[in-house]
């Protein structure tokens, strides 16, 4: 009689487990959303954009953040005075929080205002007076929270007050206030804060009057106080005046820049020059905040359309609509073809359109791609692994989506990015460098041999265009078509530019004194050295390809592979011979590319960005002339001459300008690529209902294979059971006998 009870009791956990599993499955089955949805059911149908990030942003403090994975967030939160027009090309600046575009006026050394059209030699300072709009308010933030008597609630916290605090949301009270000009000045001063290490401090201290001395003053103050360098310490920067940034009144401030620097206005469109309220600085500097990872680097405070409400870069970051955002209207004008492409459908509508943006951490390309195809991400890039699945390239080089993508209603956007990848020659090197005819011909021969058309085809799936000069399309000075071709390397044909034959490169090489890759004086083979980083299978294939290009001229190429740190060290010391590097534009001005070859930016001598250490007197003189000129025929003429000098001297093999491919679903609108602006999220619009329908259509769970697997398992147990029975019978017989 006890056995059944025992059996029953033992089965209770099993029954409970089965009930649990059935309940869970029933819950999933009854849920409206597909089983494979990675999002909570309550988000279904909501106006939420889903995107991903591969690496967590290191800095969200606008004085520090510079990397592209950081401005993705900061661009939506912080508002500098200017921004790029979303639709117009070439890229144009327009006011964001400023009431109008600031016009610089000039002063002489004595501080006297110069008349318009004054000569550059007279200009000692440029002055920008910026007026901001009234009524702009910050996002809700505890730094602004006040009690009934108007005292700040969280400005004098003690360690014990933070006992129950782990994230910013643990501060229950929030407040806001109006944006004032002093906040912009405060942020400019922060660029010089010795503990912030702003990446643009070095550059800006050369321009903003008094910034270098300001940094020294702050450093001295901190040293006198003796606070540990790693500990945050609030300094009220308003107590320390800066000559180059001054508050004029509540809504106006002035920036004074040394000399003439027209490119400065581009910097005014970057988060470096966004406002920062002193309250936030004080709030985050309190003891115990840093230990809880509550810092300005983690929880930004801005006036922009979005605010960061979840910052868990281990998993997810969430931007939500800033309830205090003033509202901004979608542009009414665009470039040619924008109306036909539907980019003006929302003209005049109040932005932002999307309520919330969820960025999920995705370390690998394959899961990200699969989730995009399932409709769980709205936009996607294309990795090499999935390129063939997404894009087909016709025999004429025309690019189209595959039928599979078209059937899903996926669209493709392509744009040549404002960047360049180049192969540089160290001009300090005795073999490939210098201004001799021999070295110049050698470099030109190598430039012809490096077949970047092939490189783009093999390693970039056709995503790029060979560079004819340092200037990419979209930047003033770039010339398309026959006029823009580098005639040292290309011949113009009916099909467009055609790379010169290798025989021409061999001829140049022979003229340089290396017929068939041998030094005519010594008879020894020419051995060159290529310094690079990498070590992955991909990079090894690329290195082999480069070796083959040199071998076309019978030149032996030794690859000196190293990690990026060692590589940078070599570049700083000038011990590399040939190298590959790239540059991504800070702003759409030819100065931002041509300065990469300006003599006073030499890497070895001046620790600048001129990694080739190229120095040409005429080029340098023209650069100094060009950088302050306004775009127009005069500037174009100077740029043409500069480009001609570079083509002749060939300090770089002008590699290629990458092409960005972006895929997006049918429900995603206003997808026009803007490679300069980093605050484009507010322009985007989605149709969540269409997305919901598509997701459901694409993600019906297929259950029968599970049943099949179960059946197979049962079937496979049968022989085991038969074997067991047979074994038992045999054993029984053996015992009986």
């Amino acid at each position: 009689m006890r056995a059944p009870d025992l059996l029953f009791n033992r089965s209770i956990p099993f029954v409970k487990w089965m009930l649990f599993i059935v309940t869970v499955l029933a819950t999933v089955a009854c849920s409206d959303q597909p089983w494979n949805s990675p999002y909570p059911p309550d988000q279904a149908g909501q106006n939420i954009l889903y995107s991903s990030f591969a690496s967590r942003p290191n800095h969200l403090d606008p004085a520090r953040s510079y990397a592209s994975n950081e401005v993705v967030f900061n661009g939506q939160i912080y508002e500098p005075p200017l921004q790029y027009h979303f639709l117009k090309r070439p890229y144009q600046l327009e006011p964001l929080t400023a009431t109008r575009m600031p016009e610089a006026y000039y002063l002489d050394e004595a501080g006297q205002r110069l008349p318009d059209g004054a000569g550059e030699e007279e200009i000692a300072y440029s002055v920008y007076d910026i007026e901001i709009q009234k009524g702009i308010r910050y996002q809700p933030h505890p730094a602004f929270a006040k009690d009934k008597r108007g005292r700040y609630l969280y400005h004098a916290l003690r360690e014990q007050d933070l006992d129950s605090v782990t994230t910013l949301s643990d501060f229950h009270e929030t407040g806001s206030r109006e944006l004032v000009a002093a906040d912009y000045v405060y942020q400019i001063k922060r660029l010089a804060h010795p503990r912030l290490n702003s990446p643009i401090f070095g550059l800006m201290s050369e321009y903003i009057v008094g910034l270098k001395d300001y940094a020294a003053t702050l450093k001295q103050v901190l040293e006198e106080e003796g606070t540990e360098a790693s500990q945050p310490r609030y300094l009220n920067l308003a107590d320390y005046p800066l000559a180059g940034a001054q508050v004029l009144d509540r809504y106006r401030y002035r920036i004074k820049v040394r000399g003439k620097y027209p490119q400065f206005q581009y910097w005014l469109a970057m988060p470096f020059f966004a406002p920062l309220p002193w309250e936030a600085d004080l709030f985050y500097s309190q003891p115990g905040m840093k230990e809880r990872n509550i810092t300005l680097d983690w929880y930004p405070v801005g006036t922009g359309p979005y605010m960061l409400t979840v910052n868990n870069p281990n998993r997810q970051m969430v931007l939500e609509r800033n309830p205090n955002f003033r509202g901004e209207l979608y542009p009414r004008e665009g470039g040619p073809g924008d109306a036909q492409a539907g980019f003006l459908e929302d003209a005049g509508q109040r932005m932002p359109f999307i309520d919330k943006v969820v960025y999920s951490l995705e370390k690998e390309a394959i899961p990200t791609w699969n989730k995009f195809l399932q409709g769980y991400y709205d936009v996607s890039g294309i990795s090499s692994d999935s390129f063939d699945q997404a894009v087909q390239i016709g025999s004429g080089g025309d690019i189209a989506l595959t039928p599979e993508m078209r059937d899903k209603g996926i669209h493709l956007n392509t744009a040549v990015s404002t960047s360049i990848f180049y192969m540089g020659f160290n001009m300090l090197d005795p073999v490939v460098g210098g201004d001799s005819k021999r070295a110049r011909l050698l470099r030109r021969a190598l430039s012809i041999a490096m077949d970047y058309e092939e490189y783009i085809s093999i390693f970039r799936n056709g995503r790029g265009i060979p560079a004819q000069s340092p200037l990419p399309p979209g930047i003033f000075g770039f010339i398309d078509g026959r006029e823009g071709v580098n005639t040292y390397l290309y011949d113009w044909t009916a099909q467009g530019p055609q790379r010169k034959p290798i025989a021409e490169a061999r001829r140049l090489l022979a003229e340089a004194g290396y017929p068939n890759g041998r030094n005519v004086a010594t008879g020894k083979p020419l051995v060159l050295y290529f310094d690079t980083t990498g070590g992955t299978p991909d990079s090894s294939a690329q290195q082999n390809w480069i070796r083959k290009q040199f071998a076309k001229l019978d030149i032996q190429l030794q690859i000196r592979n190293t990690d990026y740190n060692r590589f940078q060290d070599k570049m700083l010391k000038g011990t590399a011979q040939i190298f590959q590097w790239g540059w991504n534009a800070d702003y759409p001005d030819p100065e931002n590319f041509l300065f990469l070859l300006y003599g006073k930016n030499g890497k070895v001598e001046h620790n600048g960005e001129n990694a080739a250490n190229y120095k040409n007197e005429e080029f340098d003189r023209l650069f100094e002339q060009m950088k302050n000129m306004k775009n127009g025929p005069g500037r174009q003429t100077v740029i043409n001459r500069m480009v001609e000098i570079l083509r002749k001297d060939a300090p770089w093999v002008f590699g290629f300008h990458p092409k960005d491919f972006v895929l997006y679903h049918d429900w995603y609108h206003n997808a026009k690529s803007n490679l300069m602006a980093n605050n484009t999220l507010k322009y985007k619009r989605i149709d969540p209902q269409l997305r919901e329908r598509q997701r459901e259509a694409w993600n019906h769970p297929v259950v029968w294979p599970l049943g099949l697997i179960l059946l197979l398992l049962v079937v496979s147990v049968i022989p085991a059971y038969i074997g067991y029975r047979r074994h038992e019978r045999q054993q029984g017989r053996a015992v009986n006998s």
Partner: protein
């Protein structure tokens, strides 16, 4: 036993110092403090002054191991090694080079790692034991041979294949579970299901072959032969006697890895977007965040030593003949 535990704990100190020193040397052979600073300051527009400032702020402006300019004990204590590594012994992990509190990060990220590792271990144990017992029961038959062959095949396949294949089959084709992602709380099971299933399946080959040898070793012992001669049914023999005795090496093998379950799986977490400690370590290596690398290596060493200690203790618990002295 207490004396043994204290002795083993004391032995651990020089081991941990050695591990710390080795990590430190290996890291700084590859990277100088200047490299680390450059990595954190970004590739563009970094000035030598900014590098010096960053080093000063993060305590990398001192000599690495020996300070010639200092006097007395300060020759050793005024160094990067001493200042960065010694406080780990008080489990003060400090801040990452990016400024985050490492202890806080670890306490957050160990749970997702555990959510994958613990069910994988337990279910895997159950499946592997069942499968290997089945093979042991049918030892020498075609069933055993097929099972061993299957185990060898399963062992030979890369875990990456299981992950990508599993995601493709169950998420992309059958639409049963999310491809990747993570949610805490009750929603977590949807994201944990596939990684756990893949973890269990990919471990069947190695686990069942290993356990099979334990069972076969036990099956050939005298007490089993005696029990069989007395007419004990084979199934009862296996479950009652063989399993119990074979569990000694199995469990002690498990105990050693128990503490390290917190450390997570590097590839699995990366592909499934699990915000655990495995991906934390990988990220730190990629971003050259020495503070995190050092903390994770130290933590891993401590947990491994703890695992070994627990194994020794577990021997005494499962086998009363063993005495720790």
């Amino acid at each position: 036993m207490l004396a043994y535990i204290i002795r083993r704990t004391l032995y651990a100190i020089p081991i941990l110092i050695g591990v710390n020193l080795l990590t430190f040397v290996l890291f700084f052979v590859v990277n100088t403090p200047d490299d680390v600073a450059r990595m954190h300051l970004g590739a563009k527009r970094v000035t030598p002054e900014a590098i010096e400032q960053w080093k000063q702020e993060h305590g990398y402006d001192q000599p690495l191991l020996y300070n010639r300019k200092a006097s007395g004990v300060a020759k050793v204590t005024d160094t990067i090694f001493y200042n960065k590594s010694m406080r780990l012994f008080a489990f003060d992990f400090g801040s990452s080079d990016a400024g985050r509190d490492i202890g806080e990060d670890i306490s957050q990220r160990m749970w997702p790692s555990l959510a994958i590792a613990l069910p994988t271990l337990l279910i895997g144990l159950l499946v592997n034991i069942s499968f290997s017992m089945l093979l042991a029961f049918f030892r020498g038959t075609y069933l055993d041979l097929s099972g061993v062959m299957l185990a060898v095949v399963l062992m030979s396949v890369s875990s990456l294949f299981y992950i990508i294949g599993g995601q493709y089959l169950f998420s992309k084709l059958l639409h049963l579970v999310p491809v990747s992602g993570y949610e805490s709380g009750m929603q977590a099971w949807r994201f944990v299901l596939l990684p756990v299933a893949i973890g269990v399946f990919s471990g069947i080959g190695a686990g069942s072959r290993w356990y099979r040898t334990f069972f076969l070793e036990e099956v050939n012992r005298d007490y089993v032969r005696t029990a069989r001669a007395k007419g004990l049914p084979e199934a009862r023999l296996l479950f009652r006697h063989v399993l119990r005795n074979a569990m000694v090496p199995i469990l002690t093998g498990i105990v050693v890895i128990l503490p390290t379950l917190f450390m997570g799986s590097l590839i699995m977490e990366s592909f499934f977007g699990i915000p655990g400690l495995g991906s934390y370590t990988i990220e730190a290596i990629q971003t050259q965040d020495f503070a995190i690398v050092r903390a994770m290596v130290f933590l891993g060493s401590v947990l491994y030593i703890l695992g070994l200690l627990l194994t020794d203790i577990s021997y005494t618990l499962v086998d009363p003949r063993i005495r720790l002295s």
